[in-house]
Amino acid sequence: MTAIAAPDAGAAPPASGEPVVIVGCGVAGWTVARELRQRDKDRPITLVCADQGHFYAKPMLSNALAQKKAAGHLIQKTAAQQAQTLGAQVLPGTRVVAIDRSARQLILDPAAAGPLAYGQLVLALGADAVRLPTPGLEHAHSVNDIGDYHGFRDALTAAGAGARVAIIGGGLIGSEFANDLAIGGYRVSVVDPAPWLIGNLITQDNGEALKAALAGLGVDCYLGDVATSIEHQPGGSYRLALRSGTTLEADVILSAVGLRPRTELAAQADLAIERGIHVDEFGRTSDPDIFALGDCAAYASAARPDIAGGAARALPYIMPIMTAAKAIAATLAGQPTPIRFGPMAVRVKTPALPLTVSG
């Protein structure tokens, strides 16, 4: 029997009849499907996702009030519409329990027709919202997807016009929500331990300017501070105690303190994890038939030629998803294409002081 060499990074893909399976129907998952279909009219594509799979743009969640969009209007296309347009199969409401790498199949729940075979697999699992161990945090909403957003908007509606909203976390998402909620007429407070807003992305000058611009909309910022407890009051509102000794009263609380890549499935399958699912410059995991992109991935430094060496890093923004999706789709279609992130812009959607961060 002839020995079969292990596939290398530039090897031909599996026979064209074998399906590409994409796990996750966020921007990353749907964009890979679209880019692949543009390059390959015949390859079977199946998307599997835990939620309903409808196509929406997550960045829109933090400026929906300014855009006067109800939660339901944020959906661009339903999963069924996307699947039809792309000639793909979608399995919504389905979790992947395990990746059986040796058999190249996924164990699903519900199991439906049994394990789902793949020729190549793309993990577009996203990330979970970080939840701090603050006593009373169960009273705070995290908005990590459109389902969460529906619940958040319902809470705001129930609290009524002009309700007080406390936002734990003054990073990119917290600041965008602060602006959007202020535009929506809510009375907003922001709490963050950093000395200025969006401290990990913008300069102190811009952070101070943003705080001043938000103050013009009535947003109060408690920076260099931390919520140490949240208590539900008899009247239904919440009292937040801050480390500085300040107390805040709020009707609705939003927690936006960061993301943790979803790596559990990959870890169970013994794929390399480095903060996120580690991928090389082709978006390949440590298994040559499995790719990953988006908020679940940690991209090797080779994809960022402007950075010398360094650890793999997550890039939880839209532009890296578009760049990675195009390269991975080309590779899946038989044209191995490395991901090369050029200079990237992250747009901070704070109408009070719009900013574009380059780098």
Binding site: A57, I318, M322
Partner: protein, 54 residues
């Protein structure tokens, strides 16, 4: 003249201004922007823009 908003990141294409750095002169109508043009800020395709009339 109309403006078009990128539904993902909020970048605005204003027909009056065009996008000279992409070779689109001021006054270039949205219909005349090439199909393979992508949002400068987030990279999404022209097809994912929404028309917002001023």
């Amino acid at each position: 003249m109309k403006t078009y908003v990128c539904i993902v990141c909020g970048f605005i294409y204003d027909e009056t201004l065009g996008r000279p750095e992409d070779g689109l002169a001021p006054g270039t109508l949205w219909a005349d922007v090439p199909a393979d043009w992508a949002c400068p800020d987030c990279g999404v395709a022209k097809g994912d823009f929404e028309a917002v009339a001023i």
